[in-house]
Amino acid sequence: MRYLVGFGNYTACDDSVGLRIVEYIAEHGLEQGFRALDLSTNSLNLVSYLRPDTEAILIVDSARMGMAPGEVRFFTPEQVESRKAPERLSTHEGDVLKVLELARELGYPMPPIVFMGIEPERVTSEIGLSKALVERLPAYAAAAIARLRDL
């Protein structure tokens, strides 16, 4: 099975972009040949999908990358270093990069994993996406699905 996994806080504006993409895929019947999962802020739950029969995982999340708001970059866990402090690991402040590091150290199967990072315009207490991101939602969903199929 292939998984498209969205992480984020639904009530924190652009932090929710991964969840909105999963929602868009479900609403438009685009979930074909893979499962789209909303794991919200529970990054530790990703370990449930690190299984020998998992073919690939695409993680869709907002990411501070120093790019213009709304811009996208695909990257592997090995291509980046997290700037988050490790002691802040909790369910709400989960750092999926650190969860993957933990799982790898403990010997969990590691299927091909790619991140689709989307630069947020604002991460504030607000339901909905900023204009820069909301207009691109269909394009984000299409790009995510295409990349997952290529993995």
């Binding site: 992480f7 984020g8 806080n9 639904y10 009530t11 924190a12 652009d14 932090d15 999962l37 909303d38 794991l39 919200s40 802020t41 529970n42 990054s43 530790l44 739950n45 370990v47 449930s48 999340d61 907002s62 990411a63 501070r64 990358m65 990257f75 090995e78 291509q79 980046v80 270093e81 997290s82 700037r83 988050k84 402090a85 490790p86 002691e87 802040r88 690991l89 909790s90 369910t91 709400h92 402040e93 989960g94 750092d95 999926v96 990069l97 650190k98 590091e101 933990l102 799982a103 150290e105 403990l106 969990y108 991140f115 990072g117 947020p120 991460v123 207490s125 339901i127």
Partner: protein
């Protein structure tokens, strides 16, 4: 005697959301000693106004990324109370099973990932992979079980989709329930090992006592995570029960200068909710295996050491696993039946309560004749603990100063105290923050 202490912990780590600890001691005199909560209110009560009753639980589940099952169930119960919806026995059992999954999940997270590093002298769980690899591996196994347990019953663990007003939109099959049963049985050795680990660490739990009032749901027949009356137990053992509908007479929310979150009080200046409050109120209805676990851990009601809340969570992990097995057996014995959703019989107002991992949670709504929400009120457990944390600080800091503890020791003691309450100040943000290295 310690003359001066300046502690300013901004954004305490390994708790959910933002909370600050500020202590100033000058020449042995305590000038300031505060648990501050600077989070902005998020106004979910306003968001549900004008929404149809079928949408409300879906919206309020987003209040919390950990207790989203609890928010869903409290919301459904309040809506069903307001609309006169009577759920079936099968729905009640499935909701209880879902509630167990959430409490199990959250407690595993807190005990292993947020509290254990303190007891093992590590800054986070990551260094423990090298020194206590099997413990971390077990933690992830239990976390995975909890996630898959919740996903089976709720559609997904976080922000469940299957639990709706009047019943379930999708039911697990008997085969799936039997598989879950086998997985829970297979986890029993991990539960025993968890107990061994915490028994070994228990001597490191700080000794501190402050008698207070404990509030939890309570029932005669079970441990009352899903349903019951509101019960308070006072330090002298006196217990009183109140209907959920009169929850405001218990919570008495009020505003204090040091916090943007409301504080609460009932019979005393503050009260506590959470695993220890449930244990102190409902010890008699714990599963026998959980009582055995409590005995091994040296936990007896009424325990007035707030640091023991983490230990009470371990007892509840055992309870949820074994009571979950009981519920699965009952569901399988009755057979899973396709049932329609129970319909509204009136449109009025109502309140609902459940026990989420961090304590008793109240929701209340009013609906018009079209089933549209006129207004709501949510009182979350962490808010109910803020005043108690503050009063603990006020007793603990003078004790630590008198014992001539240094700044770092006092800071760690206070951080551990707050973490023991497992506060969930608000859903923080999650975004990745990365630097490209290749």
């Amino acid at each position: 005697m310690t003359k001066d202490l300046t502690i300013n912990v901004h954004h305490l780590t390994r708790v959910e959301g933002h909370g600050n600890i500020v202590v100033n001691v000058r020449s042995g005199a305590i000038e300031k000693c505060e648990w501050q909560v600077p989070e902005a209110p998020r106004f979910f009560e306003a968001m549900v106004r004008g929404r149809h009753y079928t949408e409300v639980a879906r919206i309020t589940s987003r209040i919390c990324g950990i207790c989203s099952v609890g928010h869903t169930l409290a919301s459904l119960k309040a809506t069903e109370s307001a609309l006169g919806i009577r759920i079936s026995e099968q729905t009640r059992r499935l909701r209880e099973l879902l509630k167990h999954a959430e409490n199990f999940d959250s407690h595993v997270l807190h005990v292993y990932f947020l509290a254990a590093p303190d007891l093992l002298g590590a800054p986070s769980v990551f260094p423990l992979v090298a020194t206590h690899g099997e413990v971390v591996a077990r933690a992830l196994r239990l976390k995975r079980l909890a996630h898959e347990w919740g996903s089976l019953i709720g559609g997904r663990t976080t922000h469940p989709t299957t639990a709706v007003p009047g019943g379930f939109a999708k039911l697990p099959t008997a085969k799936q329930l039997d598989e879950l049963k086998q997985r829970l049985l297979a986890a029993v050795p991990d539960l025993a090992a968890t107990l061994d680990t915490i028994v070994a660490l228990a001597p490191k739990v700080p000794a501190f006592d402050r008698p207070t009032e404990y509030v939890a749901l309570s029932a005669d027949a079970d441990y009352a995570l899903y349903d019951g009356l509101v019960q308070s137990v006072l330090p002298d053992g006196r217990k009183e029960r109140y209907p959920v509908a009169s929850y405001r007479s218990v919570t008495n929310e009020h505003v204090v200068p040091a916090s943007t979150a409301k504080f609460t009080r009932h019979k005393l200046d503050s009260y506590a909710v959470g695993a220890l409050a449930r244990f102190n109120n409902n010890y008699d209805t714990l599963h026998p295996e959980a009582k055995k676990a409590a005995a091994r851990l040296g936990l007896k009601p009424i325990c007035t050491n707030p640091y023991m809340n983490t230990v009470a969570q371990v007892v509840e992990i055992v309870h949820s696993a074994h009571d979950g097995l009981r519920l699965i057996d009952e569901l399988l014995a009755e057979g899973i039946r396709d049932e329609g959703l129970a319909a509204p019989t009136k449109f009025a107002s109502g309140a609902g309560a459940v026990e989420v991992p961090r304590g008793i949670l109240f929701h209340e709504y009013a609906y018009d004749q079209d089933g549209m929400c006129l207004g709501g009120n949510c009182v979350i457990p962490t808010n109910q603990n803020h005043a108690n944390i503050q009063h603990d600080f006020e007793k603990l800091v003078p004790e630590l100063v008198a014992a001539e503890k240094g700044e770092k020791e006092v800071e760690l003691s206070l951080e551990m105290l707050v973490r023991a309450y497992d506060p969930c100040v608000s859903c923080s943000t999650h975004y990745l923050d990365v630097t490209f290295v290749r």
